[in-house]
Amino acid sequence: MSYLESNAKYVPTGLRKLLYLNWPVILLLISVACFGFLMLYSVAGGSPTPWMAPQMKRFGVGMAAMLIVAMVPIWFWRNMAALVYAVALALLVGVEMFGEVGMGAQRWIDLGFMRLQPSELMKIGLVMLLAAYYDWLPLKKTSHPFWVLLPLVFIGLPTMLVLTQPDLGTALLLVFGGATVMFMAGVHWAYFVTVVMAGAGTVYAVLESRGTPWQLLKDYQYRRIDTFLDPSNDPLGSGYHITQAKIALGSGGWTGRGFMQGTQSRLNFLPEKHTDFIFTTLAEEFGFVGASTLLALYALIIFFCVVSALNNRDRFASLVTLGVAMTFFLFFSVNMSMVMGLAPVVGVPLPMVSYGGSAMLVLLVGFGLVQSAHVHRPR
């Protein structure tokens, strides 16, 4: 009987668990989602279809899933971690073989009732597996080269599969999310310094390989890098998106142009205005006040998660909470950097706001783990 199980008697049971949920996080998530509903209503030209209504339905389903996950004791999820990871990995392989090609990338499996993006599932699966791994691994061995190599394989396998789709955004999220969990778990500094150095070398190699037979990235990915570095050199080509996004964002000013008054989105100057670039519409219509409010809401979600993790003496619970929070953080920070011209356009949605089922569902399941960890923490 583990330490955790021995303390299970302190854990509230049945519906009483609801009172012990991390309510601030839930309320913040609902607020963020409401921002999303408003924006989806707006970019549809003031109509609940085609985006807002389905999004609300999915959010409902996601919240239900989150509560169900939250009700199940955290140690059950620890035991399931390897299975979730294995299923996600199998699905990724499946996508590779049977997936449908959409938008130039092979990303989902059509299950009939919904399109499942295994890469989304993998984001949570990887965090769970790594947390469970470090929960199992004796603390002394954490920095042993062999025990460091193993989690690298866990991260590397799905990353490779995702890159072949190709989905650079998700790959980056997996690498950074996984690395953060390893870092939190206490792997020695030296490894990270080495990796950062190696990363710099890789970036150099990637840039140098362009135009050679062993070119490491696809042409469009290089173009996105070019565009990121200087959007103005191709304002009507691939730089068009980012230029228009910045115009939308900047023209918002202090208080924005008013709900449904954003000319950039309403007149279709914005690309993918309901998915990856939805933040620009929000910033255009609600201005600095709206945009920074959303940023604050996100930051508060991270804050409450970190507080919950620090107050949790259970290693798995703590690491899972931090891992989910980090994944969430990566989502919004990469997306916002991207639309504000601070990062290349890599196709990462704005969590809980962008239109899309898989990402939101998986994130809410992730927050279910956070809630479960919170409810079932040792007292």
Partner: protein, 646 residues
């Protein structure tokens, strides 16, 4: 798996330290994001706002309605007509080929129209309406509208386009409009932005061209919101432009139409000038053309037909045609002689039928000669020798000066295209032009309006008007612009001796009304309406001595191009002159037999303001005249020249 609690506590501490580190990094990143938002949304907001406005707002020009052109009585000569177009929008049309095929089955389409529309559609964005057919009949518009469900993307639109209700009758005066060409643009120093509108039409000839600025008006503007693909979303605001000014011509459309009908079959021109105001009541050139052809875009076949026609229908002969004035020039010489003081009104010259000058023999038209003739008789019977002699006495420079005074060889301000100046030659002119000195033979030739002398029908009418009034009558084609009357062309007295003028007029009266006058056959008998005129027959070929010996070939036996020009000028009524008229029939033959009857008919029409009573004509020709009148009236009612029926 079991772990000692101590290790768990140690693990939690380590996680705490690392989490704080990561948390700090996260806070820093959130700070960067917030700072970036601030700098974009607050510091650079204005710049981005401007870019957003530039993105979405386009300025569009609203073409103004072109000013209308009326005749002196308010009869419309150039109007804007509602023009129904059939347009197709590619993105709404579905299968374009299929839709156009169905349209072609429904209404008559020019064969190349479909092809042209397809090409234009391929060039432009999917939402841009492309014109398939223009000037569609109302019946066809109705057909398209009724069948709208079967013709997706096809709609009927209405716009304004120029129309000339009088058709060919006023073509040379009013001119026509056409789409701006690159050549037009190259001539403009500062092109109106309106010129950028596709198919915008500007005046190409005549009043339409000369008063382009006034008629065009100024463009309105509207600000429209467009989306990323350029589609118009809505109109934000608009500022209406100013319609072009309306122009009233001095021309009398009824008289003009009558004249054109009267000239049917001739290559001729007629000017009727109002002596009180200088108003050009009629500026008729025949044959003529349908200006509406040009507005629609003239076909190659029509263009070639007009351009290669030997009667030059596109030319406004009234102002562009410069002809040797022949005997109509004799008034100029007579007045110059009298004014010089070297020749008295009753001084006579002997006409043996010819005169010898510088070794050449110059003939009078009457081979047997006129005997002793004074000024009066020389004009009445058109004796040439009198003028040969008189001109040698006074010299060419006096003649040229008088010609210019009377309006020949000088510019007149008429807003028509390619106006000719004519020639009133003198010694200086010949030196400048040919680098040769003036010969006495040139003077003799000029004295009967041959040689270097050239005058346009307009100048001949002005000359007659000035003789009739003694004032420097100026032609006035534009009566008013935008309701503002233009200055009268009545003119100031020329300072010529009224006595001499009266003598010349009296001689002209006898040309028409004396038994022996050359214009007696074309006289007017109605009391108080009689005209005073002068015939002219100007050669376009040299008659050799050999031919003269053999007998001069009659005009009828010559090819058209080599026949004499028939000219006539007159004013009427003699007692109280109201109009001056000039008629030039190119290669028409004799002035008194061909040009004078035309002038008589037009003069009577002008004097009576409509068909004159038969009593105005000599009794022996009334039957013939009645028949002619009936023919012309039928012609007018039929609208044989393309024009709208009333």
């Amino acid at each position: 798996m079991k772990r000692p609690p101590k290790e768990t506590a140690e693990s939690a501490r380590r996680i705490g330290r690392r989490a704080l580190f990561v948390g700090t990094a996260q806070i820093a990143l959130v700070g960067v994001l917030g700072w970036r938002m601030r700098s974009m949304q607050i510091e650079q907001a204005d710049a981005y706002r401007m870019l957003a406005e530039e993105n979405r707002i386009n300025m569009r020009l609203i073409p103004p309605a072109r000013g209308l052109v009326f005749d002196r009585n308010g009869v419309p000569l150039a109007v804007n007509e509602q023009n129904y177009r059939i347009v197709i929008v590619r993105e709404d049309a579905g299968d374009v080929d299929d839709t156009l095929e169905r349209l072609a089955r429904l209404i008559q389409l020019p064969p190349d129209a479909v092809q042209r529309a397809k090409e234009e559609m391929a060039r432009r964005s999917a939402f841009v309406p492309v014109t398939v057919a223009e000037r569609v009949a109302w019946a066809d518009v109705a057909k398209v509208t009724v069948n709208a469900p079967a013709l997706p993307g096809i709609t009927a639109e209405v716009g304004l386009s120029r129309h000339y209700p009088r058709g060919s009758d006023t073509a040379h005066v009013v001119g026509y409009v056409g789409p701006v060409s690159d050549y037009d643009l190259s001539l403009m120093e500062n092109p109106d932005p309106l010129m950028q509108i596709p198919r915008f039409q500007i005046g190409k000839t005549g009043v339409e061209a000369k008063f382009e600025e006034e008629l065009r008006g100024s463009a309105g503007t509207k600000r429209i919101e467009v989306n990323a693909t350029g589609r118009v979303m809505r109109e934000l605001d608009r500022e209406e432009g100013q319609s072009g000014a309306n122009i009233q011509l001095s021309v009398d459309a009824e008289l003009q139409s009558y004249t054109e009908a009267r000239l049917e079959g001739e290559s001729a021109s007629v000017i009727v000038i109002d002596l009180d105001t200088g108003d050009l009541r009629t500026v008729a050139s025949a044959p003529t053309f349908d200006p509406n052809l040009f507005v629609r875009g003239i076909s190659v076949a029509d263009w070639t037909g007009l351009n290669e026609n030997k009667y030059r229908p596109l030319s406004a002969k009234t102002v562009q045609g410069a002809y040797p004035p022949g005997s109509t020039f004799k008034m100029v010489v007579a007045l110059a002689a009298l004014e010089s003081g070297l020749v008295g009104p009753e001084d006579t010259e002997y006409c043996p039928g010819y005169t010898e000058v510088g070794g050449s023999r110059f003939h009078c038209w009457r081979r047997g000669g006129h005997g002793n003739v004074n000024m009066h008789r020389s004009m009445q019977e058109s004796c040439d020798v009198y003028y040969y002699e008189v001109s040698q006495k006074i010299g060419i420079d006096r003649i040229a000066e008088m010609a210019r005074k009377l309006g020949i060889g000088v510019d007149h301000d008429v807003p028509m295209s390619a106006v000719s100046q004519g020639v009133a030659p003198d010694t200086q002119w010949k030196r400048d032009r040919y680098g040769e000195s003036w010969r006495i033979g040139d003077t003799v030739n000029a004295s009967i309006g041959q040689g270097y002398v050239l005058a346009t029908p307009l100048q001949l009418a002005i000359m007659t008007a000035r003789i009739a009034t003694g004032r420097a009558v100026q032609p006035r084609l534009i009566k008013s612009i935008d309701g503002v009357e233009t200055p009268s062309g009545a003119g100031e007295p020329m300072g010529l001796n009224e006595n001499y003028l009266r003598r010349v007029r009296a001689a002209m009266y006898d040309v028409s009304n004396a038994q022996r006058g050359t214009g007696f056959g074309a006289r007017i008998v109605a009391e108080g309406m009689q005209m005073a005129g002068k015939s002219g027959t100007s050669q376009v070929r040299r008659i050799t001595a050999e031919e003269r010996a053999r007998g001069v070939t009659s005009n009828a036996d010559l090819p058209w191009e080599r026949r004499d020009h028939a000219l006539w000028v007159n004013f009427a009524p003699y007692d109280n002159p109201r109009f001056a008229v000039s008629v030039v029939v190119e290669h028409g033959g004799g002035g008194s037999s061909v040009a004078a009857p035309i002038a008589r008919d037009v003069t009577l029409q002008a004097l009576y303001g409509g068909p004159p009573p038969l009593e105005a004509y000599p009794s022996n020709i009334r039957d013939q005249i009645a028949e002619d009148q009936k023919r012309i009236m039928n012609h007018l009612a039929r609208g044989a020249t393309p024009r709208d029926r009333a």
